[in-house]
């Protein structure tokens, strides 16, 4: 079951590559939140109850509901246009993401000592690298935040892979990170909208030497 959920998660990355609208991205994030809920549930069912409840609440409330709603609110409030405006055509993105997944797959096959977490490793690393790729090829500031959440989702999967041995503290760390960064960035984008007319990365390239 976990494997199915992880594979669906990887497919959502491919879907992200061909998505054209910001709302599609936000919906993908919500979907990933639900998938993470499932993965965490099946992965940690044997661990102690308190840890399980906190992580499940974190995935379902923060990742699947709060962050997508908040991003949606930011997009609507700032009248950000619906197009994602990638620099490269979607077809190229699709090929590159496929290549990233294939490459991480091959890399993790080389590693012997993986504690039977190979599939977690592949999914997490492909989410990380495709997140970085999306970040560098999308024009709007808000897509950078969305990609950041995508990367965080990948890291969350990685932390689930070692979650059985990891202390509670680190899981709280993920929550803290997502919560604070996203909300801060979101509030900040609201402010950017007040000063700059267009929330576009091209406006943010004056500081250089």
């Amino acid at each position: 079951m976990i494997n199915i959920l992880l594979i669906v998660f990887t497919m959502s990355l491919l879907f992200f590559a061909i998505g054209n609208r910001l709302m599609t991205y936000v919906k993908i994030l919500a979907l990933q939140g639900v998938l993470l809920f499932g993965i965490a549930f099946y992965g940690l069912i044997e661990s102690n109850l308190a840890t399980l409840i906190i992580i499940l609440l974190e995935t379902i409330i923060v990742k699947a509901i709060a962050i997508p709603l908040f991003l949606r609110y930011v997009i609507i409030k700032n009248n950000i246009t619906r197009e994602a405006e990638p620099y490269l055509p979607n077809f190229v993105s699709l090929i590159i993401v496929t290549l990233i997944i294939a490459a991480t797959f091959m890399v993790s096959n080389v590693i012997h000592d993986i504690h039977n977490h190979k599939i977690y490793f592949v999914v997490a690393l492909s989410a990380l690298f495709s997140g970085l790729y999306f970040m560098s090829t999308r024009k709007k500031i808000i897509t950078h935040v969305i990609c950041y959440v995508l990367i965080e989702n990948g890291v969350f999967i990685l932390s689930l892979a070692v979650g059985k041995e990891m202390p509670m503290l680190v899981n709280l760390g993920v929550l803290f990170d997502v919560f604070v960064s996203v909300f801060l960035l979101g509030i900040f984008i609201n402010k950017v909208g007040d000063v700059l007319q267009d929330t576009d990365v091209s406006q943010l390239s004056n500081l250089k030497d």
Partner: protein, 474 residues
């Protein structure tokens, strides 16, 4: 004590945030300073004390904490004068003080933490409070700097987090589940090398955002340029130290593993590239604040080279980072005065500083001697030891290009500093000049005096603390 300290800082910042009365704000800031001093004294007298399982006052933490406290006194006290009169909006000002206090609190806790995840959490907190400080002016430039800073630092901290996860995988068969630095140092020889290698790469890359090395140094430059000067003084000294503490503690672990030599090479490549990039930009930039920010990058590169060279380099690296903190923060305070006088940061429009502010100009001259590492500056001593360490470790092929690059940096700094002091400025209207009160320069002289004194005649306790901080390194 640390819990009381954190709770009290949070309480003070909470009251400051809602407070509207000027006198209450001043009292609260003074109260915080007093608490910071008492806290530092407490940790200093209780060396080796573990509190709340996650904080330990070891020698490195105490050294960094004392440095932080000394710098934070002028930074907080001068904040009244540096914040512009025309932008004196009450809301922005209370956010500024809250962010300052949170930054100092997070830095203290990050220095003291003895668990890698706790360090990570407090470093994350420094990112948040620092970005509130960069955002203070609320114009297009500060928005851009804030955006870049939050973004690069968040991504870097995600890297650190991934590194911590890999580190827990490296523990693998040892059946240990805690990530306390002390436990990790004990277990270091048995850690799985593959995961430890990955972990080091990720953690080192992540912390370079704070430390100011290649590859993640970019965000710090814009931040120091756009933040108000007292904040920039903290960014260029104690905030960089937190990155150093993060890397140093991990380096202690890896130095007990066969990967030690490999880690040295990684650090050396990154440090040397940083010095190279700093040189290239310093020859070119006209903005005085950015120039100093690049100079910090150069110093961090020198420090990391000392760490990688080993031997006497360890001692010199710690000495250098402390002295650099004092020197650079004092210089940033002085840049605040220069900006007040000329209303610009471009060296093209700044000049003849002797005519307008004598105490500041004499300070700039001393600062130039100190920051470039000429005797009698303490930075001369530490740089000399670092060169010696590189020589002894047979890194001559690294030392020679390093010395050439440092000569270029010397020239670039000298050209700009001497221009500021002696050459008349272009299109400068003397009539509307704002006089700088010369007693405000006092704190800068004290800091620069410390740089010279600690280098030439380090007190015994200071020497002992440094020796104890590096005792875990092989």
């Amino acid at each position: 004590m640390i819990l009381i300290y954190i709770a009290a800082s949070l309480l003070i910042s909470g009251i400051l945030f809602f407070n509207k009365v000027t006198i209450v704000r001043k009292i609260l800031v003074l109260l915080f300073l007093l608490m910071q001093i008492i806290f530092t004294a407490y940790e200093f007298t209780h060396k080796g004390l573990t509190e709340f399982n996650f904080f330990k006052a070891d020698a490195l933490a105490i050294l960094m904490l004392i440095t932080l406290t000394i710098i934070s006194i002028p930074a907080l006290l001068h904040s009244y004068d540096y914040i512009y009169k025309e932008q004196d909006n009450r809301r922005a000002r209370s956010i500024y003080y809250v962010a300052m206090i949170m930054l100092i609190m997070a830095l203290s806790a990050a220095y003291l933490s003895s668990h890698i995840a706790v360090t990570w959490i407090f470093v994350e907190l420094t990112t948040l409070s620092a970005s509130a400080l960069i955002f203070h002016r609320r114009n297009a430039g500060s928005i851009e700097a804030t955006w870049k800073y939050i973004f690069v630092c968040s991504i870097s901290l995600v890297f650190v987090f991934i590194g911590i996860l890999f580190l827990s995988l490296a523990l693998g068969d040892t059946n240990q589940e805690t990530l306390h630095y002390e436990t990790l140092i004990e277990l270091a020889p048995n850690l799985n090398q593959f995961w430890l290698r990955l972990s080091f790469i990720f953690i080192f890359t992540g912390f370079t955002a704070k430390l100011g090395l290649v590859p993640m140094y970019t965000a710090g430059i814009d931040a120091k340029d756009k933040a108000p000067t007292p904040a920039a003084a903290l960014f260029s000294s104690v905030l960089m130290n937190v990155g150093f503490v993060g890397v140093f503690r991990f380096y202690e672990i890896i130095s007990h593993n066969p990967l030690h030599q490999w880690a040295n090479h990684v650090i050396m490549i990154s440090a040397f590239l940083s010095i190279f990039i700093a040189t290239v930009y310093m020859l070119k930039v006209k903005n005085i604040k950015r120039m100093l920010a690049y100079s910090s990058i150069e110093h961090m590169g020198v420090i990391m080279l000392g760490l990688a060279a080993g031997g006497i380099g360890y001692y010199a690296a710690i000495l250098h980072i402390i002295l650099h903190s004092f020197a650079k923060s004092a210089l940033f305070f002085q840049i605040g005065h220069i900006y007040k006088t000329y209303k610009t940061k471009n060296t093209y429009y700044i000049g003849n500083y002797f005519k307008y502010n004598i105490s500041g100009a004499i300070f700039m001259l001393i600062a130039f001697i100190c920051v470039t590492g000429m005797p009698p500056s303490g930075l001369f001593i530490s740089e000399f030891y670092i060169f010696k360490a590189l020589f002894q470790a047979n890194y001559l092929y690294l030392l020679i290009p390093l010395l050439i690059l440092l000569t270029f940096i010397f020239w670039a700094l000298g050209r700009n500093f001497l221009k500021i002091l002696f050459t008349p400025p272009v299109d400068f209207d003397e009539s509307c000049i704002e006089k700088v009160n010369s007693y405000e320069t006092l704190s800068q002289y004290i800091l620069m005096g410390l740089v010279i004194y600690l280098g030439l005649n380090p007190p015994v306790f200071f020497n002992d603390l440094i020796q104890e901080a590096i005792k875990n390194l092989i």
